[in-house]
Subunit: 285 residues, 4 copies
Amino acid sequence: MNLLSGEVVLNALAAATTGQVISLSMPIRGATSSPAPTTIPHLRGRPLPQHFMSVDGGDYAAGVRPIGAGLRVADDALLVSPHGTTTHMDALCHMWSGESLYNGHPASRVRSYGATRCGIETVGGVVARGILFDVPRHLGLTHLPADFRISADLLKEITDDLRPGDVAVIRTGWPLTWARSPDEYWSGQPGLAADAGRWLAEHDLALVASDNAAIGGLNPRQLADETLADDLHLILLWRHGIHLAEMLWLEDLADAAPDHPFVFVAAPLRIEGGTGSPINPLAIL
Amino acid sequence: MNLLSGEVVLNALAAATTGQVISLSMPIRGATSSPAPTTIPHLRGRPLPQHFMSVDGGDYAAGVRPIGAGLRVADDALLVSPHGTTTHMDALCHMWSGESLYNGHPASRVRSYGATRCGIETVGGVVARGILFDVPRHLGLTHLPADFRISADLLKEITDDLRPGDVAVIRTGWPLTWARSPDEYWSGQPGLAADAGRWLAEHDLALVASDNAAIGGLNPRQLADETLADDLHLILLWRHGIHLAEMLWLEDLADAAPDHPFVFVAAPLRIEGGTGSPINPLAIL
Amino acid sequence: MNLLSGEVVLNALAAATTGQVISLSMPIRGATSSPAPTTIPHLRGRPLPQHFMSVDGGDYAAGVRPIGAGLRVADDALLVSPHGTTTHMDALCHMWSGESLYNGHPASRVRSYGATRCGIETVGGVVARGILFDVPRHLGLTHLPADFRISADLLKEITDDLRPGDVAVIRTGWPLTWARSPDEYWSGQPGLAADAGRWLAEHDLALVASDNAAIGGLNPRQLADETLADDLHLILLWRHGIHLAEMLWLEDLADAAPDHPFVFVAAPLRIEGGTGSPINPLAIL
Amino acid sequence: MNLLSGEVVLNALAAATTGQVISLSMPIRGATSSPAPTTIPHLRGRPLPQHFMSVDGGDYAAGVRPIGAGLRVADDALLVSPHGTTTHMDALCHMWSGESLYNGHPASRVRSYGATRCGIETVGGVVARGILFDVPRHLGLTHLPADFRISADLLKEITDDLRPGDVAVIRTGWPLTWARSPDEYWSGQPGLAADAGRWLAEHDLALVASDNAAIGGLNPRQLADETLADDLHLILLWRHGIHLAEMLWLEDLADAAPDHPFVFVAAPLRIEGGTGSPINPLAIL
């Protein structure tokens, strides 16, 4: 909330032209709860979401009695470790170097019961102009190759219409590889080059979002391997306090091919002390 | 998304006048992860959220080595059963009577691996005009008493400016009792009377939201005790397919005292087959 | 395993006279999974076990197809925080004072990914002579009062037949209060006095087990309030490396009224780095 | 408990000769909590155990204040889906064909809140003579090949000393392949042939245990592919009510090479309505 003045928000809302609302989220598909449990892009080795029903229609089919006068209810539980498993937003406490978080808060305040500094519950919500950088479309590709690093110059070729408070939405197309082969998806990931991160940081954005898993690229061991100076999380999240959103599903937005800014809304769950939150970002064209 | 045409969305966005963004969500405070684990309003006996850190600043203080060149990361997991424990939205599969869900889908499709009909992942997002019914303020009360049932006439006294696709936001003030005494919070809950539910249903709303736990009222056993014909979930969710959002935090919105509609946004997580989702609804004034 | 030489184990097995096997465990009853979710003794405010079925008979009643030729399977998941919620055994890493665990291991080795020193997986199993101290029966009571602290002299009155490697099983009867009133159960707990802990420690036992929640007593705030020198966990677990088992169900054993030692077996799950484990201890008379 | 008369138990205890206690359990290694998260044999695609610390030594290193006079405590939570992920015991409600569980109980009693018939909490404990069938050793192999099915004749060659109430412990050596290659482990599994299951069933055993994942063999898709008549779970668990324990670690027991029966103890957690339980079975030689 504090990211955005009322004027910036009103300007953002003015970007809508058709009122079409597009979800930028992958489904959350539970490891145990689905007939097709592993068909969603995710980083290898991460604990997948688990979704459990504590009462469901099957129970009534098996003879469970309704509540009171005849109500039937289905109820459930979700376990989710958002980083690397689903569309999510990073809190400012998610990554740092040395002893201090963004803005000098001591990293020792991030404890087993949660972060008392820079937790995801401090975000409130993001309502901003969204700018789509559809890099593979610009290059005539279906998706970027795994080792592709997006330079600042390439972003500028697409657009330099970035204002303070905007959200830059970076499409790599990499999630499309999943349907072909999870092993290909895990073979690395395209992402921003360090100079692109610095260029975005100069614009005082509210958020940088991407359909890849780490904003920057990943090597085949699923690690970012830039130096500390060039690490994308450190540039954006740690040095500049710019929130990150990762693992978005941008194909529907890309198909709509907006040639102008849109309204971007993300409302992370107010998980007290959380390092991030699963989100369902919305684009309003 | 299919709830709302582009025109309705554009009209909704036009309701914003100052650009102030207010979160309508309570914090999610974990049962195990907080120094103050039980200070959030919730229904008695429900499994509280649990929030775990899988790596945190304490680990680095204890000597864990950074990743690669010197990155430090905090990561976590959240377990949440949204109904009754935190701000959430109900899927259309959450409640029914007899053998069929809303729109005639067989209830037997709601199984342990999730609902293949009417799950929360089908919602996409809600972007609508929000209309605040601040019932206690209208009556000169801090909060409604536990046995108060809000009639249609009382809602109409506040406003009858409801259009198709709007979101009715019903404030009872009941969460304020929690700070005084959880036992008082658990002694019952005020909520809509059946005729109010029917009146709202007539307006073809996108969503009815409230700061109470069940839209309708609850008795001291924390149960709705209307007849099947008069049950608020059945009237709104089951018969009319109007989504419900419960356990909102409306005090900040009430303090802003909007005397006109605002933009209401809710983006439930796309939990495949889920009966609901925790949400962080936003009001944009 | 290293606790017990082969000779001690063979002596323990020789204690059996009738071959009757009695479980000393309470049921694990899930917070979400039971029609009667809160009827098991537990400490107030602790996260209760949660038990979820990922596929069950209800699903087949609702039309799920069998596997392959016609197999039907039920599968489930358990979430448990054993301390304070169910019958469990404490690892040596569970409690300490200052910077070091039992035996001087640095406490900083107990991290978010588990304890690399003194975790529960190092126990293996306990096969020992069990000696029942049925204190309320000795005093002609149904159960001890909440503020009762069991002295060394009182234990000695019951028996002083304790050998190295034995398991002392201390009955207070306190779980019987639960059926009358959870509030009474939560009003405090009887337990060992410090001098009783010291006397037991002198005997080089393998384990001290009790039906109370903390071996020592608890005040109405559910805290042990002895000084550091007199704290029962510190005396037994930390200073002497004697494992503890708590929240046993001893009523069936008490009804059998063994007037001689029996075989006591406990096999904690080999949870790597765990601070404890739920257990189902067995008495073989 | 009802499986075993006192006489049978006393006979079992008499099998011990050296008092050596050997754990037959793999460690439980959490998916999120370990520096080496996936190095334990498990079936592909199953949700791995998750182990979380809710307070640990790192928190104190980061400045968390001790409790009261100076106590420090570590506490944790375990989430486990035992089938296919760790050493566990199957309840009689785990598998069936048609509409009825073992002994004619309706399968519709196995619901989302647990099984009210044939749940794991009814087992109590198993204290029995254990008989090791070390099949690869008998054949001069390190481990059996993936497509090996152990016939009744082969078991009889090893020993026919089986009495009612005994536990047959079948070693395949298959877990040894894991260290070489998880893909090899997942390429199939050796196990009992149907006639071996029938021969064991004739002996009225208390339990059949194995180091493989399904008692019978598995094909490369990790499925049992016998007919319904020949399925090992149906023969043993469903038709004869003989409990099963799977994914044991038998290498330490095999190294001890017992040439005579031993004491076998397993004490499943009393998970109310559970389809199984993680266990730490003990062999007492």
